[in-house]
Every structure is written in C-alpha cells, then in structure tokens.
Symmetry: C2
Subunit: 313 residues, 2 copies
C-alpha cells in the first residue's frame, strides 16, 4: 500500500518502517506475516503524545484533587490535595525530581492519592469526566489543547500500518480507562485495543441497574515486564512491531517478533527542545539496549518534519 508518512523525514527511521512493512506484507516472501498476526503495540506517554512537563493523566487527576479539596477543607492541609488546591505545581514537579534521585516518599504519597481519587466512581461516570476534561483542558506550555498533543508522525504511522493490514494496540503504563474515551478521537484506536494500567473494579447489582465501580487499589501497573504479560493476556499473539520511549518499554520491545517472526522495534528520542522537549531521564537503559541490538531510534528533531498536527480534532 502507498505511504503517507508525510511528517517523517527521509532518513533511517522512515526507511526502517517502510522496509519492514514491505517485507512482512510481501506475499511469498521469506518474512511474510499473515494479516491476523500483524500486531503493533505502542506505548502512549512520550510515544504517541507529549508527557512533559507532567503526564496528561496527572493533570486530570490533580484537577480531581482540587475538586476533592474544595469539598473537604481537611484535605486542603494535606499533600497532594494541598498542592492541587493551591495550584502549586512546584510540589508535584519536586516529587518527580526526587523520584529520579531515588527519594520516592513524595511520589508514593502522590500515587496513593491517585489510586484513591476515583474510589467508587462508576466506569460510565469516569468516562464522562475524562471526555469533559479533553473537551476543555490545554497543555500548560505548548499553547494547544491536550487533544492536540498527539504526535502527527505517529498518527500517520498508525494509519499506514492499518492500511497494510496491521492491528494497532496501545500498551501504556497510563490508566486504561483514561485513554479509552479519547484514543479514538486522537489516534483512531478503539477501546478494546487499549491496554494499560488498571484500577480494581467491583460489580454492584441493584434493583434496576448494574454498575462497575473503581476500587481504591490498583489491579496492576502496566509497565516493564508487566507489559508483555498484559499484551499476551489481551491479544494472545506476540506483536511484530513495537514502539516505546522509556526503560519501562524494554520488555515489550524485547518480547516482539521472536520466536519465529521478524520484528521492528523503535524508541522515540526526545531531543527537540524547540518543538517539544529534550530529555532522556528514564530512557537511558532503553537507549543503550537499542544501540546494542540495532533497534531503531527515532529522533524527534531529525526524523520528524512536523511534531504536532495543525488540525486539532
């Protein structure tokens, strides 16, 4: 099929993609893969959309903290609700910086509160909250709505793969049900193809209605070795193409392809301070592995002629 990878510069990354897709779709060729087995998996934060200065989901959850603090003055004195109530993003940023330095105390406080933020909310109510957030919320520094923060070259890649018989899944450390309501609009990926971290759910049956409610506890955190496990659980096939941007994506990339199929493994390198961000924190090991194993590193600066689409859906 023809390519419309217009936001990809001519270069090694684009060539790696096109060469791989041509190999696995060449009927009768040595690397031909049946359409049903053309599974591609994508990390989300930092791979399909921008994850700086904080993950989009964290912004959503901080707004929830502020709402909780407004309703309960006692929370206004406790972190992380205090920071949210006072719009003090410094505390949140410092928690992340401390985390990278090995001090996880504040991050644990934050993650505990994240886990409890939607306790007993129904799946339908959560869906409506996420949709409302994306209708209105803007990225804090990029001057565009969050729903305009998906990477245009990656959306083109998703369409190109689909046109070549691939099924695209998102396998993210982010919350599965936070991505589902917006992934169709941003990426054309439907809810059943969203794999992500999950809160526990409980089932409640009333006289006239049944509900699923979130628990204040994680079911699992979809990162690192959990990614291939959750990919298998959901799909029942190994991917042949996988894209990530951090150390937590390494097992997903390593799991792709083998034992008997080819694979294309890619890492997005954030090296573009002008158009997006420039950072490698959390990706050092992944980049080392990529170099050792000849995986494809995509330089945002050099491989992408365009980072964000001018049209916002």
């Amino acid at each position: 099929m023809g390519t419309d990878l217009g936001s990809w510069a001519d270069g090694p990354a684009r060539s790696a993609i096109v060469d791989f897709v041509e190999r696995v779709t060449a009927a009768g060729g040595p690397d031909f893969v049946e359409p049903a087995d053309r599974v591609a998996v994508f990390d989300n934060d930092g791979t399909l959309w921008c994850e700086k200065p904080m993950p989009v989901q964290l912004d959503f959850t901080v707004r929830r903290f502020a709402e909780m603090a407004a309703a309960d003055p006692a929370l206004q004195q406790k972190q992380p609700w205090k920071a949210a109530h006072e719009h003090d993003l410094h505390w949140l940023g410092a928690a992340m910086v401390k985390h990278y330095r090995g001090d996880d105390d504040d991050l644990k406080l934050l993650m505990g509160a994240v886990t409890e933020a939607f306790d007993s909310v129904t799946v339908e109510n959560y869906d409506a909250r996420v949709r409302a957030f994306f209708d209105g919320a803007d990225h804090p520094t990029l001057g565009r709505p969050y729903r305009g923060c998906g990477y245009a070259p990656m959306v083109e890649l998703l369409r190109y793969l689909e046109a070549n018989g691939f099924a695209n899944y998102i396998a993210s450390g982010g919350d599965r049900d936070f991505m589902r309501p917006v992934a169709g609009r941003l990426y054309g990926v439907p809810p059943e193809r969203i794999i992500g971290s999950a809160l526990g759910l409980s089932y409640r049956e009333g006289a006239d209605a049944t509900d699923l409610l979130y628990k204040a506890a994680m079911d699992f955190f979809d990162d690192g070795p959990e990614k291939p496990i959750r990919i298998w659980s959901r799909i029942g096939r190994r991917p042949i193409l996988s894209v990530g941007n951090s150390n937590g994506d390494l097992p997903m990339l390593a799991f792709s392809g083998q034992p008997d199929r080819p694979a294309l493994r890619m890492l997005i390198l954030h090296d573009d301070a002008d158009r997006e961000f420039d950072y490698v924190a959390g990706a050092e090991e992944a980049l080392d592995h990529a170099r050792e194993r000849d995986w494809t590193v995509v330089s945002m600066k050099h491989d992408w002629t365009n980072v964000f689409s001018s049209a916002v859906t």
Copy 2:
C-alpha cells in the same frame, strides 16, 4: 442482512434473536445501536460447546495428569494423578457430584492440581499442546471429536451477528489460553476476543529469547461477578447481547445493555437427553431469574432442529 439460522426452529427464541437484531440495526429507529457498540458475549462451556460428562478442558488436563504420573511414580499414589493414571474417571465424576452436594474437598484437590499442571510451561508450548489435543481427542460418549462438539445453531448465530455488524467475544470460566488455539477453527472467534479465566504469567528474558511462563496460581477465575469486570477490562463497552447457561453467567447477562441501550439476554437450557444432555444443576437460579425478567430461554430440544454440525472442521 439475511438470516441463515437454519438450525433454529421457528419459535420464540429465533424470533427474539431476529427481532432484536432488526431493532438495533434499523438506522433511525429508536433502538438503533452504532456498529462499534454492537458487542455480543458468549459463555463457552454449555453455551457454545458441550460441557458434559466433563468440561473439555478437564479431559485435556487429566491427560496432562496421566503424563505427569507416568514421569513421576510418586504421583501415581496421589489424587487426582492416581485417577488419571488409572483412567478412573469415577473419582473425577464423584468429585463433581460431591461439589454439587456441598462437599468441595475433592474438587479443591482437583482444582489445585489443575492450577499446577502447566507450571513454568511457555505460552507457545501450551498453545501447541492444546492444538495437538484437538487434532486427536474424541468426546467420551457422543461419538465425535471434541472439535465437532460446538453447537451448530450457535455457530450460525455468531455468523448472523457478524453479518449484522456485531463483534463476538467469548467470556468463559474456562481457561482463556485453552480456548484461543481452537476458537478460530470452531467458532471463527480470534484470540483477542477470547475472555476467560487466567493463570498468572511471568516474563523471562534470556540472551536470545524472551518467554512468558504460566505460574502455578490463578490470576483470576472468570465466573459470576468477575465476568462483567473482565468484559469491561477487555472491551471497554457493555455488551448488548449475552448468552450463557448457568448461575455463573447471571452477572454477565444483567450487565448487558443498560444504562441506555437495549439488550438481548439468553440462557441455553439443556433439556435434550437424546441429542446432547438433560440437566439443570448449576443453572437453577439463572433459570428463575430468566423467567422473572423475561430473558430468553433457549430449549435445546425445541428451539434447535440440529445440535451438532455434520461437518467437523
């Protein structure tokens, strides 16, 4: 779309199906449902294929016990390996009978052994074992291979729903990865649409290969209230059509449709000793609910002109 429900007798069950499908596909009608939301879920054991005199998966696992006992004489003196080694199906049957009478000691022994039977086996090796089983194994009393024990009317229903834009999922208490290798062949349902119970998995990375290995412990048992939870986890939508045959299917059926969509809920009634089996054990509560709530009960004896297909795939 035209119907080819040739194994369904004219009667209330067939009418309920056709009426429902016509309602939800009638563009502009009050019950129209977008194709993306036309999700149908099916229990497997006793709903899509025969579950008597024992679940197919149990036969598969008993053969594994026999293999384990042959390799380890100590196991030949311990249940349930002893029964498998001696081809003593009486012990297994008695364990089930005791279970229905409230004595779960032998069943617990059996289920513990089932959980451990594939400890440290890779997902690919398990897949190959399941395929080999279905290539050769016959049902103990029906005089046909297990792969010929799917219900012809249900396969027709799956095709009819597909032709009307539905996506069919299997939501079974049976092991997900036991169904996956054969569900395409029997039902035309691909691995990514199989929801079932799951053993825990662990990820192992070697120098040249990565593997997923089963643990000797369940991740979850997909029955009762767990069914709607796992359906949501996998699909992210409520089904609008659901079919089961036992008490463990009640929450799945109740979860379908609402809050704002129509639903068709069906129970298969095993009342056909001549062509299949006649039993209600384990389905009493479900049948009571169905009568109270006007759910559709499908009589195998009266609603199906044909139970099994003469052609075995």
